[in-house]
């Protein structure tokens, strides 16, 4: 067996999750993997479709516990349905609606545990950015300014699509940190983001339960 594995859509997801886990005390900095290491390797798969398409193959592969983190931007109901359709052939029964604390199920035929976390919180439509936005203090005046500036930018011809507004806001905010323009993962590592806010804690709790770590 190749141990446990966690699959994410892209490199921002990978680094954000990894740094968040490091801040929760998981050793992703220095470790050398051993065969029986319960901490999962984290892999990015190059986008949402690539991740959805490989769900069955990963579960059928030589892994013990397998987790998937997927943006719920389809909207969430159809995103969850796409996931369920791919879990069913490998013997994983998933409920009709996503579970707020994150889905963890078992493939009875393959005798292995499978988990799915829909970004941001298994309830709302959204992406990694919606999750990250929760990791900024509510009273953060710089973020309030970043939001206003983003509105102003649109009025001045900024060309990003409406659904990318959270991304634009977060990048504007990151541009004004002590080290300007860090990518998400590094910014989590640099403590610009909170790590123990409710949504982050719920995610880490799902991670703990799925991998038994």
């Amino acid at each position: 067996m190749a141990g446990n594995i966690l699959l994410v859509e892209g490199s921002d997801d990978l680094h954000t999750i990894m740094h968040l886990l490091i801040r929760h005390g998981y050793d992703y900095n220095t470790r050398l993997r051993k065969g029986d290491d319960p901490l999962p390797e984290i892999h990015e798969l190059g986008g949402k479709n690539a991740l959805l398409d490989s769900i069955e193959s990963f579960i059928a592969g030589a892994y013990e516990r397998i987790g998937f983190i997927i943006d719920a931007d389809l909207p969430i109901s159809s995103c969850w349905q796409s996931v369920r359709n791919r879990l069913q052939p490998v013997g994983v029964d998933a409920p009709t609606n996503p579970i707020a604390t994150g889905f963890i199920g078992t493939s009875t035929s393959l005798r292995k545990q499978v988990g799915v976390w829909l970004m941001p919180d298994n309830q709302r439509d959204g992406t990694l950015e919606h999750f990250l936005r929760e990791l900024i203090r509510i009273d953060d005046s710089l973020f309030a300014h970043a939001r206003q500036a983003t509105v102003g930018a649109t009025q001045n011809g900024a060309r990003f699509a409406v659904q990318d507004t959270p991304k634009a806001e977060i990048h504007a905010w990151l541009a004004w940190q002590e080290t300007p323009g860090l990518p998400y993962g590094a910014a989590v590592g640099a403590h610009y983001f909170l790590h123990d806010q409710a949504m982050a804690n719920a995610f880490v709790d799902w991670f703990k339960r799925l991998y038994g770590v």
Partner: protein, 376 residues
């Protein structure tokens, strides 16, 4: 007739196990000791319709046998090898009422142990009569055919009747049960990682020539050597057995360019063997243990193309095993080049603790290789 699933019960490492969703060409993968070879051997026994000679051959091939030296007469000592049957049974022990069976949609075989009784009338050499205590009864059922045979065993499950491990002149590296007198038999060939000897190869080659299929073999060989235009087997009298100087390979259609096969690498011999076996087993089953043995990574995709295309054209079902990721990658690459093979391919991940093999279809094999998913 293609097998769509095969079930093993109380057989070797499997209490109950099913190979499911089989295709025309099936690649078996899994950790060391997961039972891939045992599965190939089981299919061999099944397709042989319960031939105990096949079981004995497998046991001897695996070294599950004992050697006994005895005096045949005053002047001559003889060493005989006797196969041990108990390793075929789950738990590796043997006692009355134990059985294993292997079945597919249209044929089933069962090997059952009973107490030896005189009326079992199994032929036994008088030398060993006193050792016999058990009988192995092997039955096979097919729509139009039913057979039952018995063979005497010792307490430890050793076959002690006079036994010939060599059938049709084949050595222990292969067990071939093609038998012209057995009209009903399913054509089957088991290729172990050790390739055939030159004698076996040239015997097979004569058949290929007589059937006019030699150009197909030559074409397959161009996978490794694109310049190859012909293959010649020298007659027995000048062959030096057990190396490959007896086979000449012609390059570029030039008769001054005939080079001994021994000058090429292992891959060439392996591919020649594979090509001959595939081409002469139309409408049959070909079992290939460690298909990639001796073959370079770079030709894996072409190898699969040859195997799949021949299997399609000649109606052959193939079961192969591998440990090699490159071999699986080659299969994925072959499917990418020839999407029309989608329904002809399956990857079977063997996990003995489960009830069924884990099946990857062509598309999922490709995804698994693209995403570096560990499938072995």
């Amino acid at each position: 007739m293609e097998m769509s699933s095969v079930t093993f019960e109380n057989y070797r490492g499997f209490e109950k196990y099913t190979l499911d969703k089989l295709s025309r060409v099936n690649l078996l993968v899994g950790e060391n000791n997961c039972g891939k070879t045992a599965i190939l051997e089981g299919i061999h026994f099944l397709a042989s319709q319960g031939d105990h000679g096949v079981l004995s051959g497998i046991a001897i091939n695996r070294g599950e046998s004992i050697k006994v030296e005895y005096d045949e007469d005053e002047n001559r000592k003889v060493i005989r090898t006797f196969p041990i049957m108990r390793y075929f049974f789950h738990g590796r022990t043997i006692a009355p009422n134990q059985f294993f069976n292997i079945k597919t949609d249209y044929i089933s075989t069962c090997a059952m142990v009973t107490k030896y009784q005189k009326q079992d009338t199994v032929p036994i050499d008088s030398t060993y009569k006193s050792l016999v205590s058990l009988t192995l009864k092997i039955s096979a059922k097919k729509e139009d055919f039913e057979s039952l045979s018995s063979i005497a065993l010792t307490n430890d499950g050793i076959i002690i009747e006079p036994f010939l491990p060599q059938k049709n002149g084949l050595t222990q590296s292969t067990i071939n049960i093609i038998d012209a007198t057995q009209e009903r038999a399913i054509k089957i060939f088991y290729l172990s990682p050790i390739s055939l000897s030159i004698e076996e190869l040239s015997a097979a080659w004569n058949k290929i020539i007589s059937e006019g299929k030699d150009s197909a073999v030559g074409k397959a060989m161009t996978i490794i050597e694109p310049r190859l235009t012909n293959v010649f087997f020298l007659s027995r009298s000048i062959q030096v057995f057990n190396n490959y100087t007896g086979i000449l390979v012609e390059l570029d259609n030039r008769d001054d360019q005939r080079i001994p096969l021994g000058n090429f690498g292992d891959g060439m011999r392996r591919l020649l063997t594979l090509a001959i076996i595939m081409i002469q087993n139309s409408n049959g089953i070909v079992l290939i243990d460690e298909i990639d043995t001796g073959l370079h990574n770079s030709i894996m995709s072409d190898l699969w193309q040859f195997v799949i295309e021949t299997a399609r054209q000649s109606n052959i079902q193939v079961f192969a095993t591998t440990h090699s990721l490159d071999c699986i990658r080659g299969l994925a690459e072959c499917y990418r080049k020839y999407p029309e093979y989608a329904d002809d391919i399956s990857l079977q991940r063997i996990v003995p603790d489960l009830e069924k093999s884990v099946t990857f279809n062509a598309k999922n094999i490709e995804i698994a290789m693209h995403q570096n998913i560990e499938v072995r």
